[in-house]
Symmetry: none
Subunit: 196 residues, 4 copies
DNA sequence: TCCTAAGCGAGACGGTACGTCTTGTCTTCCA
DNA sequence: TGGAAGACAAGACGTACCGTCTCGCTTAGGA
């Protein structure tokens, strides 16, 4: 993210920058490795330094703290989602397509989402992801009519929470069903009124 | 809480027990007060001790840590919910009634839920509450047919997440709508299929 | 010591007094037992309470602290020494006799002195004993001429330190020599001038 | 002490070492200052940290505890004494010279010995010093004949105790006599047989 | 080819919170 | 009613991390 819009071609980047990137990458990888081994909360900065074989000052030169390091690995996530609405030649997608995309996206990156959104991960990561999902869904839903007097935001929160809850359960239970199955059920559930 | 169903009248409880209870209560109240003032994460054990005017050893004599203290205040929450299914003369409620009850219950205890489930509170508290809601809903839903091939658990997670998400949004935004309104919308949303 | 000089005959003492004495005795015994097991410094008040099977307040009702409890067991020590000068029909003893008595006295109560003056014991106990020895010796020596211009106090400190040092070494090394032997050597050493 | 025999000149010591030394020195000085103000026992680690303006972790990085810090300031004491026997061109000194040296040495460092060996200091420090004196005297005395059947160790303990006792009294009474006077008296006392 | 500036490791440091421990006080129970 | 039981406040302890810092080493890019 720091050099998202490089003024010079990658090939012309200084060796300095390359070293910086290498350090950052080592740290990110070390953290991901460690998350697979023990709960995020229990990982200390020192653990990361030892694993990455990097000095303390280097860490703090690049990242504010552990959370920032983790977040830095997901800075392109939103970007990925942003491209959603522009796919298929700029033609806007339907709500269904958007949700379908999200479910399949999670399946594609299963290991990373599992690590980060399970109990081993950090709570705030789930919320971070959820807030991105909310943003994406809001943009989607504000372009289609909401029946009755339901405020847009209420609809957005409802859908996003339901979707995230289902996905989280899916991940926590080692994804016993296919993405297609989940998406089909989600669709069915969305039309299953509360029983009187 | 520990002796919900005392075998002896309160008046016969030993003074020792009364002192213990008083200490615990002071600590619980101090913590709740502090949560209203600053994020749960930033509250130190010392803050609580100072506020409750209680010694450090007393704290650790009764509670494992800050989390345990907070949790102790909610031990009767589940119990409250458990009584749900036995209301109305033991006759089981409908899913709708259960959800309605939950929404109204939150409204009744608005300040406490707001403090604990907002950003100021702890993430794990929201999950704690959600897991209770899940339990209650599961018990409710396993007594009614699930259409199609949707597994019960999928339905439970879907409903609980949607409900919790909506409630959380409601609290985070200072409850701009009445409980009746929220419940009505929830019902409508439950039958609003994903748009193609 | 609290009831050293009872106003009433022992037989008439109230049951209350008997209880008090019993508690005090239990505590004293518990402490002595513990000293044999671990260094005095490492013994906590709680250790003593557990061993004596006595409540905390009982301890503090009778003794100021751990040191006071230990000291209370030795309050008659000085008294014993005091009788020294009055032995043999009130005729004052010689310095030699006094020292001889001290050495034999320590031998008689070997286990207790060993426990209290060794490394396991408390430093201040050794000093306490030393200060009693100093008092006794001072009373002895002020009745006999000091050669040259040596101040009495200097002589007293010299003799007492030498004697106590020797006794402490004797105890620390499990008393490998008889009291007679030690006393003879002490006498010889007292006349062994520093080598030029 | 840590690098008593440096392979490299002091000027070449790493800055890291210099920083470490500075911290340790600050702590030692703070402790000595505090000992002059209140009893050693009453000094808390926090007191030392505040005075030295040093962090808690730094303290525990260098020293096990308060005692260890104090002891560290005396690690070169023995060394000083060790050089005794090698003075005057390697020619061994007489017992008299050794004792004379010790008395004058104490006088030279009067403030520090007063602080450490008085009631304000710790008991174990006196013993530490005494054990060093014993070692020095033992080395001295094993090179000269002991009259009669007196074991060397008995002589050593006798002399060392007498000397230390006298010195302690001297310090406790604000050194009312000169070192020369004390040394002369010690010599005279060593030949003053116990009175029959 | 040398010089210089920056990235880096190493890790000492000040600081803060923790959970443990012990002390001496204080309140209540009970015989 | 006074001795016993034990809950309590106070606060020091040693540990664990944090984020800052100072220091030399290495190294690449310009002189």
């Amino acid at each position: 993210m720091e050099s998202k819009v490089p003024q010079v071609p990658v090939s012309a980047q200084s060796a300095k920058d390359r070293r910086v990137r290498r350090s950052q990458q080592l740290l990110r990888e070390a953290l991901l490795e460690l998350i697979l081994e023990k709960p995020y909360q229990d990982i200390t900065v020192q653990d990361i330094l030892d694993r990455a074989d990097v000095g303390r000052s280097t860490f703090y030169a690049h990242f504010l703290d552990k959370d920032h390091l983790l977040k830095s690995g997901f800075e392109n996530l939103q970007e990925v989602f942003e491209t959603l609405n522009l796919r298929s030649g700029g033609k806007p997608q339907s709500e269904f397509e958007t949700i379908m995309f999200l479910i399949h996206h999670v399946e594609s990156f299963q290991p990373i989402y599992k690590a980060l959104m399970s109990k081993r991960g950090a709570d705030w990561i789930t919320q971070e992801v959820q807030s991105i999902v909310i943003k994406v869904l809001r943009r989607q839903l504000e372009n289609q009519p909401v029946p009755g007097d339901i405020p847009l935001e209420v609809l957005v929160q409802y859908r996003a929470s339901a979707l995230m809850g289902l996905i989280k359960w899916w991940l926590d239970n080692d994804m016993p069903f296919s993405a297609e199955q989940m998406q089909r059920w989600f669709h069915e559930l969305s039309a299953l009124p509360v029983h009187f």
